[in-house]
């Protein structure tokens, strides 16, 4: 299945029905999620209405990490097997990850001011997520750093792999250090059965996470197709200039 997808032409064909599913999923889940987050859920007894920011902040953080993990996996595949599609995936997904990280940082900051009394503190969680944002920007920059495309992608792939050390730091920063950022309410799958948050707040969070996930799939498919098209265009131009 994976190797079938790994062929660019086959990916273009197989991605079409998948794109429909992710489009419909993104549309329905985001409308449902927005309704639950803004209207259908109660204010928190401690955070009042600002708890509503959590429904777009926490899933953004999850997606930021998911994007990075998938990108680092693609980087490994690209470096070890020199697989073109894996390299293109890095270039396609880095801006998506950067966007989710930016949303996480900005919404967190807006939430922090009324709740903590400050827009920003240099605590371990916030700093490690900021580093994640800079890693994404670095990958985006490296993807176009050299004249030779494969050389650029290889450099970007190495940065992805090195940056993976930041992932466990983000995940466990709230446990390892005494941060201002509160510990996770949903730190593992076993906790989903008995979460540290109430059900009427868990539902909008998970629906919104589903909406983000579908949107991520939509963006990944469109942008990966764009990378394939760009490659095709460049090769065609190269042939033309030689002819």
């Amino acid at each position: 299945m994976i190797t079938q997808f790994a062929n660019p032409l086959r990916f273009q064909k197989l991605s079409r029905p998948l794109l429909w599913i992710s489009n419909i999923g993104a549309l329905i889940l985001s409308l449902w999620g927005l309704y639950l987050a803004l209207i259908g859920s109660p204010p928190d007894y401690l955070q009042s209405e600002t708890v509503r920011i959590m429904y777009i902040h926490v899933p953004a953080a999850w997606l930021a990490m998911l994007c990075y993990s998938s990108m680092a996996f693609a980087a490994l595949v690209f470096i070890v097997w020199k697989h073109t599609l894996a390299g293109l995936y890095i270039r396609a997904i880095a801006p998506v990850g950067a966007t989710f990280t930016a949303i996480c940082l900005i919404t967190g900051s807006i939430w922090g001011y009324p709740t903590w009394g400050t827009w920003w503190v240099w605590d371990a969680r916030l700093t490690s997520v900021l580093i994640l944002f800079f890693l994404y920007l670095g990958v985006v920059a490296l993807c176009d750093a050299f004249e030779n495309r494969d050389k650029s992608l290889t450099a970007a792939a190495w940065l992805c792999l090195i940056g993976i050390v930041n992932m466990p730091i983000i995940k466990f920063s709230v446990d390892w250090w005494n941060t201002l950022h509160q510990p996770s309410s949903l730190s593992s799958f076993s906790q989903i059965a008995q979460p540290a948050i109430a059900g009427d707040m868990l539902t909008p969070l998970l629906v919104m996470a589903g909406a983000y996930l579908c949107l991520f799939a939509t963006l990944a498919i469109i942008r990966l197709n764009n990378e394939i098209l760009l490659r095709k265009l460049e090769n065609a131009r190269l042939r033309e200039s030689r002819a």
């Binding site: 803004l38 209405e49 777009i56 966007t99 919404t107 098209l229 265009l233 131009r237 033309e240």
Partner: protein, 52 residues
């Protein structure tokens, strides 16, 4: 009007939601635009070869 006021937290909640929606929609729109542009350029490049 209570909904838009968000019990006095409107100045935090709406910018947060606005930022998230703007950034994500912007990325979708720019990706779709790029897709259309690339397809158009490829078509333009293939056309003269066929007529020649």
């Amino acid at each position: 009007m209570d909904f838009f006021d968000m019990n006095g937290y409107a100045q935090y909640i709406w910018p947060a939601y606005g930022t998230a929606i703007t950034l994500l929609l912007g990325l979708v729109v720019s990706s779709l635009r790029q897709n259309r542009k690339l397809k158009r350029e490829i078509k333009a490049l293939e056309q003269p070869q066929k007529t020649a």
